[in-house]
């Protein structure tokens, strides 16, 4: 597992796809591949209100990535320093085995190069101390990038605020 976690604060996501466009622009990709993608489910009426899920799907950078194990050329790799899973395109022969192996559809096909492209958390940016492209430009800052243990804090603090009733408590 990579040391990082890309958390989507679903309450703030508006499904605008800024993340997808910024990702593609940063990687200069042609139409087709989407290393990250927002999948909208709904809207449907839930308890009299329309509700939709805007679900962010990057690569999850698994601890034991099946795509790396499946890759016959060694193009698909995991960085030892931080666990980021990336593809070295100079070694990729376009066999698509990683696409078959990944249960979540993370590796994408680039028709222009005939090779695979995937989310690498913008490792070049991360190495410069920056956030991934999608996280940096996210319209509502609903995408957060950091250490896994930091990311769970957002929901805990929000929940605490919602159950706290300072005005009407004696404690």
């Amino acid at each position: 597992m990579s040391h990082y976690y890309l958390f989507q604060d679903t309450r703030k996501c508006i499904g605008c796809k800024s993340c997808e466009v910024a990702c593609k622009s940063n990687k200069s990709l042609p139409p087709g591949p989407r290393p990250c993608q927002i999948i909208t489910v709904g809207p449907k009426m839930i308890g009299g209100l329309p509700r939709a899920a805007y679900t962010f799907m990057p690569c999850f950078h698994c601890e034991n990535p099946w795509c790396v194990a499946a890759c016959p050329t060694g193009a698909m790799q995991q960085r030892s320093a931080d666990g980021i899973v990336f593809v070295d395109s100079s070694l990729c022969v376009g066999c698509k085995t990683c696409i078959s192996a990944c249960p979540w559809g993370a590796p994408q096909w680039n028709p222009e190069t005939g090779k695979v492209v995937k989310c690498d958390y913008c490792k070049d940016r991360v190495d410069q101390g920056l956030k991934p492209a999608c996280v940096t430009v996210c319209t509502t800052h609903c995408l957060k990038f950091g250490k896994v243990e930091e990311m769970t804090q957002i929901r805990r603090e929000r929940h605490a605020r919602s159950v706290a009733a300072l005005e009407s408590t004696a404690f």
Partner: protein, 700 residues
């Protein structure tokens, strides 16, 4: 070599502050300006597609002169001198023979609009018009009728809002980044959001209350809300006593507009209307009834927008934290605004405008913007006089003015059509000459006077040299002016020189913008004193529920509500709108945005679709009085049965914009050119269409 340039986005008209990273003459990265609250890196998807726009080969690359019939698509590339000479050689005789008034220039309001206005003033033409009237002319007039100030002079303190009511203001899809983030912060802090729209949008999916209102009846809802607020004395009495003129007249007027009456008209239960009135009142004055962004739906538009503003006045949410505020200019802190070329002295123009704005025929719309949709009528009927030439500056009359076929007929009557644009727009396709403008990443622009709670100035800076043979609009108009003998009104040799001239006397220099992309006149937010300090510009100095502006022009302040009839059998009210991926008619050909959203679909209610035998994805023929076109069906429960809906901006006719050409259907082609003749907006949602499965593309 890497450098950072602070600038302003222009993928839409919001002009978000951006940070641009340039390496070896190429734009490598764009993000929201990190120093600006609400931006902090953020971009909307259109802003994120900026680099692909810059590098797109399917945008205008050089001047072009028509080499065949108009709209035939036969062009020859020309040098700038040849193209500018071509324009001047035709413009000069028109001005000499018919006067400057025979020349009209339409544009989307932009940072160099004072240059365009100067161009026309110099030739003695009153016929400058902007896109604004098409978008929100009646909102502007409504604001002036109540406050003596325009909508552009008002802002919303989203961040501190406790309850916001949105009437089709699809704030999470028609995105202004700062507004979205400030509202997100408010929601995180417990702000309630009520969303009213005949169609479920992304905004609806985030709302605490959603009403699928019967289309066209929002005014009835508001009169009932006002009825409840006055009856139960839910208003801010101190504020209303001090600032409102005409409360008694309003009280008499809404007497019969009960929640029960509104329930029958709107489909919203009376008890829920009462509940909203009480809930909003509990949040006052930090409550916003949003007056809208686009406000161009119905022939009574001005009265609907007034009713929203009246609700805010009753809540005391004017010049209040978490409510509306009036934007403060540099004068508030003893500063000076940037100069404009229009401060020069011009010969007086004493002919009326082509749209008759400011005359008894059309007294109230803002002459600073005009009424664009009157252009086809003026040209076709030579009423009030012949128009012979049109300069279309990044405004596309063919896709923005309703009833494209009639607009085309009118344009064909012109002796000269010049387009200044960045895109292969439809108006470019039908022009005689195309003068390509440099994109926002390739040009420096005039100063943005950003009035608000804190007056500031922002600047668009050139990040890279033009990719193609393009120029800044301010330089293009100057070059034409020099060729027709009015060059003396354009005393600059570069846009940078023009900006330096603008900054004279402000106490700021161009270099002051280097560090962050903006300068501020002061540090603190300015709210006027709510007891005595609100500087209203109405004759009474009050918020005029009974409006001297309206009444002097012969219009009632409170005309009786006219019931909205259901569509005739087999007909639907056509409604249009936006999503996050496209700006008006200008981004549909962008490689990334086109990939995400290549065409529009016709939303139709599932029960109605079943009656017509229509299934999801079917090709449909949609017919209005003006046009019949084909579009694919999106069958859904999430739209009112009286409506059909399509996104604005599709169905492009320019074949040189190959990705968007012929994709989807143009709403403007279907819409009838009718207006709110008091406020000035078009009534885009007062067109009815029939829908049936298409005969031709049914198998596709």
């Amino acid at each position: 070599m890497e450098k950072t340039v602070y600038s302003l986005c222009f993928m839409c008209s919001v002009r978000c502050p951006i940070k641009v990273v340039v390496k070896d003459g190429q734009v490598k990265w764009v993000e929201g300006n990190p120093s600006v609250p609400g931006m902090e890196g953020s971009l909307c998807p259109r802003g994120a597609a900026g680099i692909s726009f810059l590098n797109d080969a399917q945008r205008l690359q050089s001047p072009m002169i028509r080499d065949g019939a108009r709209g035939s698509g036969k062009w020859r590339r020309a040098g700038w001198d040849e193209a500018l000479d071509y324009v001047a050689d035709r413009l000069k005789p028109i001005i000499d023979q018919h006067g400057g008034k025979a020349v009209a220039l339409g544009e989307r309001t932009q940072l160099a609009t004072h240059v365009s206005q100067t161009f026309l003033k110099a030739i003695g033409s009153p016929n400058h018009f902007t896109h604004d009237a098409l978008c929100k002319g009646s909102v502007n007039t409504a604001c002036r009728s109540l406050f003596g100030l325009t909508d552009a002079q008002m802002g919303i303190d989203y961040k501190n809002c406790k309850h916001i009511v949105l009437y089709g203001r699809n704030i999470f899809e028609a995105i202004s980044v700062k507004e979205v983030n400030n509202l997100m912060d408010a929601l995180e802090n417990g702000c309630r959001m009520t969303y009213i729209d005949p169609r479920v949008t992304v905004t609806a999916t985030k709302a605490h209350r959603y009403w699928m209102i019967r289309p066209g009846t929002d005014l009835a809802l508001n009169y009932a809300l006002i009825h409840v607020i006055l009856k139960e004395r839910l208003f801010d009495a101190a504020f209303v006593d001090r600032w409102v003129h005409g409360l008694a007249e309003l009280q008499d007027f809404v007497h019969d507009y009960t929640p029960q009456w509104a329930e029958a008209e709107t489909g919203i239960p009376a008890a829920e209307i009462v509940a909203l009135a009480r809930e909003a009142s509990a949040a006052k004055p930090s409550v916003v009834f949003h007056f809208g962004y686009r406000g161009a739906n119905h022939t009574n538009e001005i009265y609907f927008r007034r009713s929203i503003l009246i609700l805010n006045a009753l809540m005391g949410s004017i010049e209040a934290k978490g409510g509306f505020f009036f934007k403060k200019g540099p004068g508030e802190v003893g500063g000076k605004p940037a100069r404009k070329l229009t401060e020069q002295t011009f010969a007086k123009i004493d002919v009326p405008r082509f749209d008759k704005v400011g005359t008894p025929a059309f007294p109230l719309p803002d002459p600073a913007h005009g009424v664009a949709q009157m252009l086809p009528h003026a040209i076709l009927n030579e009423d009030p006089y012949p128009i012979k030439a049109l300069i279309a500056f990044r405004l596309d009359p063919l896709m923005s003015i309703a009833d494209t076929e009639t607009t085309l007929k009118a344009l064909n009557k012109l002796d000269l059509i010049v387009t200044i644009d960045v895109n292969h727009s439809d108006i470019a396709w039908y022009s005689d000459v195309i003068l390509p403008e440099s994109t926002y990443l390739e040009r420096t622009d005039c100063i943005q006077q950003a009035n608000g709670l804190k007056p500031q100035m922002f600047l668009r800076r050139q990040a890279v040299a033009p990719r193609y043979d393009t120029r800044e609009g301010a330089m293009i108009l100057k070059a034409i002016a020099e060729r027709i003998g009015t060059g003396q009104f354009f005393p600059y040799t570069s846009v940078e020189e023009l900006v330096r001239w603008q900054l004279e006397g402000t106490g700021f220099t161009l270099e002051d913008f280097d560090a962050k992309g903006f300068v501020a006149y002061g540090k603190n937010q300015i709210f006027w004193d709510r007891k005595d300090g609100i500087k209203l510009k109405t004759p009474s100095g009050k918020i005029e529920f009974v409006s001297s502006l309206l009444e002097k022009a012969g219009f009632a302040s409170f005309p009786a509500y006219e019931p909205v009839p259901a569509p005739a059998k087999g007909q639907f009210r056509l409604v249009t709108g936006r999503n996050a991926l496209h700006t008006h008619v200008s981004t549909q050909n962008n490689p990334y945005l086109n990939e995400q959203c290549p065409e529009n679909l016709l939303w139709i209610n599932a029960a109605k679709a079943a009656e017509l035998g229509i299934q999801n994805g079917d090709w449909l023929d949609v017919s209005s009085k003006c046009f019949t076109g084909t579009i694919k069906a999106f069958v859904t429960d999430l739209i009112h049965p009286e409506n059909v809906f399509m996104l604005h901006g599709f169905g492009h006719r320019s074949q040189l914009a190959a990705r968007s050409w012929g994709r989807g259907l143009s709403d403007a082609a279907l819409q009838e050119n009718i207006s709110d003749t008091v406020g000035g907006s078009p009534a885009y949602h007062d067109t009815f269409v029939t829908v049936q499965k298409a005969s031709v593309k049914a198998a596709a």
